[in-house]
């Protein structure tokens, strides 16, 4: 058999250049106003409701969604430009980003009309933060082992159980969660899960912070005790959520956020190295640039496929695998290359701080949103190996 991998050389269309200028001008103003510091990586991981509303007012959330839901009918490639410029500038987009990337598209596809009318415009205005409720104690990568139960009651469902490692749950307005509505069937262990929209203000939901090795509470345990979710909050087919997961994954896995998470250390290396770095640094820098350029060209190509209505699951997984491994190794590579630079201690202070931060967060990059091993399993399946 022949393995066919498609990465057409998609170029961003001309309208993207103007948009990029607008985005850069906006971010420059925000930096000048002190909203965030482009050199402080933890700023980029922040939640800033006022900022997200200003981003929404610019029309940069839900860009690809239909106008009737508050969207802007723009292309995946235009959205790509906004996403990458925000990442590179280290702008705090955690509040709206998950809703923009994956929750909104799921709602567009599966939510009842009145829910779409209610929620999607608020996402687009930058008012809503979404969390993703997939992992549970005892079921992380093995999504289909989820046990948190949704029991049918009059007018809706009663939820009991817990989700874990849930990013943003402490600030989220809503969660898209997988709950068990039936036991797995004998011939299909993926059967029996249903996707729900959950209002985080629902009585019976408790969010407990989990402190990460960085010292911060970056994710949470979310406990459900007789929490009520109404019938119209069911998304898609009851017991059939596993069939709905694939397109979401293609969106989730191939964007610029999958290789730009530690970009700031590369930028700072270029700054510290100056116009005439030694040969060792120049050579190492050149490799990193070539690798980054390649990842970006692959990622743009997948955005082009999404725009064309395809579901490039294997290609998206490849981008995430290569991208997250790269961004994870980047701090170590930059540290090596900076080792013999003759820069003043003051010049290096920012780089040292950034390296400390990037090195500490690096382990999560190949775990969150699908581990390396899971991704490679998907790629292997795509090639007919399993």
């Amino acid at each position: 058999m022949t393995v066919d991998l498609h990465f057409d050389p998609i170029r961003l269309p001309p309208e993207c250049a103007k948009l990029r200028e607008e985005v850069r001008a906006f971010l420059t103003e925000e930096i000048a106003a002190g909203t965030f510091d482009p050199h402080r990586p933890d700023d980029g991981e922040g939640y800033n409701r006022a900022f997200s509303r200003r981003v929404g007012a610019k029309g940069w959330i839900g860009m690809t969604w239909p106008k009737r839901y508050g969207g802007h009918d723009r292309s995946q490639l235009e959205r790509y430009v906004v996403t990458e410029e925000f990442r590179v500038a280290n702008a705090p987009s955690h509040l709206h980003f998950v809703a923009d990337r994956q929750s909104g598209p799921v709602l567009l596809k599966y939510a009842p009309e009145h829910i779409k009318q209610d929620i999607l415009p608020r996402i687009c205005r930058g008012e809503l933060c979404f969390a993703i409720g997939m992992s549970e104690p005892g079921s992380g990568s093995d999504l289909f082992a989820a046990k948190t139960k949704a029991a049918k009651i009059d007018g809706g469902w009663r939820i009991n159980g817990s989700k874990i490692w849930t990013t943003s749950a402490q600030v989220a307005d809503y969660m898209l969660a997988l709950f068990r509505t039936s036991p797995p069937s004998k011939d299909n262990r993926r059967h029996g899960l249903t996707q729900f929209l959950v209002n985080m203000k629902t009585p019976g939901i408790t969010v407990n912070p989990i402190y990460q090795m960085t010292g911060k509470a970056g994710f949470n345990e979310v406990v459900f005790e007789d929490a009520f979710v109404p019938d119209d909050h069911v998304l898609g087919e009851i017991d059939g959520a596993s069939k709905q997961a694939t397109s979401e994954l293609a969106y989730e896995r191939s964007g610029p956020e999958r290789f730009l998470d530690t970009f700031y250390v590369l930028l700072e290396l270029i700054r510290v190295a100056g116009p005439e770095p030694d040969l060792r640094c120049a050579e190492g820098l050149g490799r990193l640039v070539a690798q980054l350029h390649t990842l970006r060209r692959m990622s743009v190509s997948v955005a082009g496929m999404l725009q064309a209505g395809q579901e490039p699951v294997v290609e998206g997984s490849i981008v995430k695998d290569l991208g997250t491994v790269w961004e994870q190794k980047l701090p170590g590579r930059v540290r090596d290359l900076a080792a013999f630079l003759e820069s003043e201690i003051v010049n290096r202070a920012t780089l040292e701080d950034q390296l400390a931060y990037a090195t500490t967060i690096a382990p999560k990059l190949t775990i969150q949103g699908g581990t390396t091993e899971i991704l490679r399993g998907i790629i292997a399946r795509g090639m007919g190996l399993r």
């Binding site: 990465f7 005439e276 290569l322 399993g377 090639m383």
Partner: protein, 355 residues
Amino acid sequence: MADDKIHIVTEAATRILADLADPQTINRADNDAWKEPLWQALSAAGLPLAWVPERLGGSGGTLTDGFAILSVAGRFALAAPLAETLAAGWLLARGDLTAPPTRMTLAPVRPRDRIVIDADGKLNGHATGVPFARESEHIAVLATDGKQQHIALVETVQCRLGESRNLAGDPANVVTFERVRPLRSAPAPRGFDQTSLMLMGSIVRSVETAGAMETILSLSVAYANERVAFERRIGKFQAVQQNLARLAGETAAAVAIAGSAVDAAAQTEIFDEGMFLEAASAKIRTAEAAAEGAAIAHQVFGAIGFTQEHILHRFTLRLLSWRDDFGSESYWAAELGKLVARRGADDFWPLVASR
């Protein structure tokens, strides 16, 4: 329309190579008798001179047509100077020089080799690692007179050739020019220099590399699905699956970046900083993919893939050899790193985002 034409070119090249340069058949052959009929067929189809306009003796294909041919050549790990003849024709066309209907190669193919054209119009100097020089009737040369670049066509017999071969056993000769009078020569276009030639050569090798990577991926996946050990097909083992997924990733990177560089070259004749980023990145990243990918493919095949009898080495050894032509990945990485450093941190992302 353009896509249809590429498809036709790809089909024609694939048919000829499958008939006359099948890796399995060639690997068993104990002489080079297969080479002549192959070259006749390629020439009859107008493939070797695709980058030469009809008025200069070629078949007048587009840049994209030629790269489609090279992608096929890569998929077969072709041991004949098709890429070299294409590139030589392209170089001659830069100088508006007529191309001969023969096997050609080009010089220099290393960034630091220099060939000089003297006041009498004769060539001096030497070029190392010139691919297939021993199997070529003519060499297209880029030479400098100290101020200006010239493009020249010489007969190979006028030069002194070394005996070296690359890892895969293909000729890769030192070519020495001692007062060699070219058959014809012309000044290179303004702005065209040895870096331009190295960048174009880098895209050529990147495209071949991507093609060969596609083949080793397909061969490896097919083998893993067939070979049984511990009472299971080895492709069922997660350790093997993970390796093959990595090979797919490296192949995808090579295919994507080579395709990007081809697209960039097809859009412009000017070798500016954007083009430099595309071509240098293609050479660096495909060479890295070649090293990673060849190692994984051999690991999948185990001992049988290490034999003369098996065709895997035809691909892996060429993948590894091509890294050295037209500037190694280390060379281009240093040059690209210097470029980025010179532009400074604030101009770095705008360069990347402009592509």
